[in-house]
Symmetry: C2
Subunit: 485 residues, 2 copies
């Protein structure tokens, strides 16, 4: 019988090529084990509320009132909601045309985009145009829209850091483009060297690939580094010279754990550089309500801001956004609340600060516990998490382990992570899902398990790892030598 | 200077080709006029809450509690929320892993997918598998995901009704496929003839196009007809013979205004047909929380159900859904509430029925007022809206009007709709945005303006139309003859 429209052999080949390790083999196995009754610690995805982080109270009060606007007319409303939440809910409802149940403009509610622009002015010291800010169903959807606008086919290349968050490799496969890797240097705290960028672009050119855009993830995912101002301005100069769009994934900008490495936005650095750069370099920056001390992943809210993008292109992006009508409206309200937070003197201010500081300070402590924990393990080395939500230790696998993996038909780090999962219930993502140099192995874990559980988790990890190394290590000493190198 | 990555001339050509009339020239002009202070009646998009439809109280109570779960511990909660809303909120929170702020599985919350499956069993009388139901950010996103899975390039064709909802033409352009039109017959109440389908497919084949799928919109958008069981089974037999996936856009299944033309799902007809059809025909059906008496467009909630789709293909669809992590969780709760509504005896049942019946009965009256209104106008003929939310009158434009449009550089129906907008503030979508036969002109309007405003709107339309016809008509009588034909 002839194959039918959705038979596997007739599918879009780009769809088949997509790989997305964050919810790949490890996640599927973990889900199976959970069904069988095993306790699983899901650290495969940055999903803070799933690991017990509590939502901030004030924004949830505001959105609850926006969902149920009839409560605003209830004489008892003051018993359950503070006056500032009531006022804010009225404010956001007044910005919508029909409440949360009506489609907004496809770019998002104009009044909320204005609040984002005001936030960017405060953050960077430069004006921002609400017409160039589009709200999205999470940052990933925005990244995908921009990539699909750029990519025409396999001869269009996108520079992507390796290791990278696999959204980029997956979306580039899906849209049929070519990923052009540039390597982050682990021994230089995951820094990047502009000479490597130049090499990557010229190598791509020699293969007939036109590099059209460059992705940076700052703070890094999975690598956790914060890019310095000097590094950012080198990158922007490079984009200027090569005519590349810079895609600045800045979703972890609130997640900073080391005071001497603050977050600096690409937009600010670009504007500081002045002309011709500030007038010429095409930049799209992404942000979200899913990260920071908010962690409102399930709401799916994000935005992107476009700088130096021609109006005709903005029109095209608007047109394509219109096909799916509008980003979800509740998450647009969360975005407004995130960029326009409470101010000193507001009734709920103290509680808001207490809650948000509590989350951030605990994440900072957890980043430290985790890095130290990994570095105490045999054949494991790990840079400190300066920002974002992940730890990305290098696992120095002995040759016998690599062989055993091969016999089992697995990539070596997948083999290690599966064993870890079966032994401890800790569900991580193998480094091969993010890309790494040949013969070097990592895993990614979030720093999100509850702080009080952290010591036990690290102990359980250490026990597994050290036994694993004991089992596979040649006692004449591959790894000791390697560590001593 | 060399062009840069996001300069217009370097963009993905498929993006440039996309047309999306629902938010096209007419909508942009209407938005401008609104800014200038003119009162605009937006009937360009089925967005009920924007035109004053009130949300149903019970689901909003439940979702508000889910957003603010701390209210459940408030001793005053019973003053503001009925016990069944409290119980339902607890139920849905128990189905999530971390509340509304946590990503769900990329297919949606398993417990909600189970509720959808139970609904489908009750609706169709056949079991449905929750593993084959994926929740989405609105039905459009689901349609786009399936089309992008199917389409490999320009030689893959998708059969689409003309007139059609332009989501289909836009998405097919975006993914680089080919739209293969089949015409709905206006004089046969927008019915479809399977012989025309056969012709369309063989014509496409002769051009080297492989038709892989067929879209039906039932009830019709913009055309408002409900397909009969006999028609559906002919279509399914045709899909079986040709190996086509049937994409059943059934988002208006609750919007039925004529008792003798009920909604019948493609799934039920397929299962009723028995083998080989029920085992072989690939079917994907779409539904939403945006339509019906819910109208919760801004929440962006939908689902699709897959029937006879091979497991390997389902895995691919799951993998691609994973890239954007999860559909928004609040809308998943709305979907749960929609498919698992209150039952007689529940505290809030009477109110729920009163509200939902109120919406539907008013829509039914508005459908009648609008059809009758259009049919009372010079050179306008209009089929009755059996279902959905739109009226799609044919406007018989006199040759002089067509010439005047040509001189103004406009398609004739765009010219008419722009004049209508300027004169009355009524923002419609020209028929050319949906496709129509050569030389035949329509407009689409929703039936959503408030019932009390409807007589004045139709009067204002009639005044404009009849004056327009007076101005452009050759009094020797093109259109009278045409009407008399």
């Amino acid at each position: 019988m002839a194959p039918k429209g959705l038979d596997y052999e007739l599918l879009n080949e780009n769809v088949k090529k997509v790989q997305y390790a964050v919810r790949g083999e490890l996640y599927l196995r973990a889900s199976e084990l959970q069904k069988e009754g095993k306790k699983i610690i899901f650290t495969n995805v940055g999903n803070p509320h799933a690991l017990g982080q509590k939502p901030l109270t004030f924004p949830r009060q505001v959105v609850a009132l926006c969902q149920a606007p009839f409560l605003l007319d209830d004489p008892n409303v003051g018993l359950m909601f503070p006056a500032d939440a009531i006022a804010r809910a009225k404010h956001y409802l007044s910005l919508t045309s029909g409440g949360l149940g009506a489609y907004s403009d496809s770019r998002g509610i104009p009044g909320v985009r204005k609040e984002v622009a005001d936030f960017l002015l405060r953050r960077d010291g430069y004006p921002s145009d609400p017409e160039l800010i589009f709200l999205t169903d999470g940052a990933s959807k925005g990244v995908m829209q921009i990539l699909s606008t750029i990519i025409r086919g396999p001869s269009d290349g996108i520079l992507v850091p390796v290791p990278q968050y696999p959204l980029y490799s997956a979306a580039i496969s899906l849209f049929g483009g070519t990923l052009v890797p540039y390597y982050l240097e682990e021994t230089a705290n995951w820094g990047l060297d502009v000479n490597d960028l130049r090499n990557a672009v010229s190598q791509a050119k020699s293969k007939g690939i036109t590099v059209k855009a460059m992705v940076i993830i700052n703070p890094g995912n999975p690598t956790g580094q914060c890019l310095s101002e000097a590094n950012l301005s080198e990158i922007l100069r490079f984009c200027y010279q090569e005519g590349l769009v810079l895609l600045g994934d800045e979703v972890y900008q609130q997640n900073i754990y080391q005071d001497e490495r603050p977050f600096i936005s690409s937009k600010k650095v670009l504007m500081d550089m002045g002309p011709p750069y500030s007038k010429e370099v095409q930049l799209v920056s992404f942000h979200t309500v899913s990260k920071g001390y908010w962690g409102e992943c399930g709401q799916r809210g994000g935005y992107f801001e476009m700088t130096n993008i021609p109006p005709k292109t903005v029109d095209e992006i608007y047109k394509v956004a219109s096909i799916s009508l509008s980003p979800n409206v509740p998450a647009q309200i969360f975005m407004g609340l995130m960029v326009n937070p409470l101010k000193p003197g507001d009734i709920s201010y103290e509680q808001f600060i207490r809650e948000s500081k509590g989350v951030l300070e605990s994440l900072r402590r957890r980043a430290r516990i985790m890095t130290d924990g990994f570095n105490s393990c045999r054949n494991v080395v790990c840079n400190f998490t300066e920002g974002a939500m992940y730890s990305f230790p290098q696992i120095r696998l002995p040759p016998k382990a690599i062989e055993a993996a091969k016999s089992a038909g697995k990539v070596a780090d997948v083999f290690y992570c599966l064993k870890l999962l079966e032994a401890t219930g800790i569900s991580t993502v193998p480094g091969s899902g993010f890309g790494q140099k040949e013969g070097v192995f990592h895993l990614r874990t979030t720093i999100l398990p509850a702080e009080e559980d952290m010591p036990a988790i690290m102990e359980s990890f250490k026990k597994f790892n050290d036994e694993f190394m004991e089992q596979y290590e040649d006692h004449k000493g591959y790894s000791r030598m390697s560590v001593a190198e």
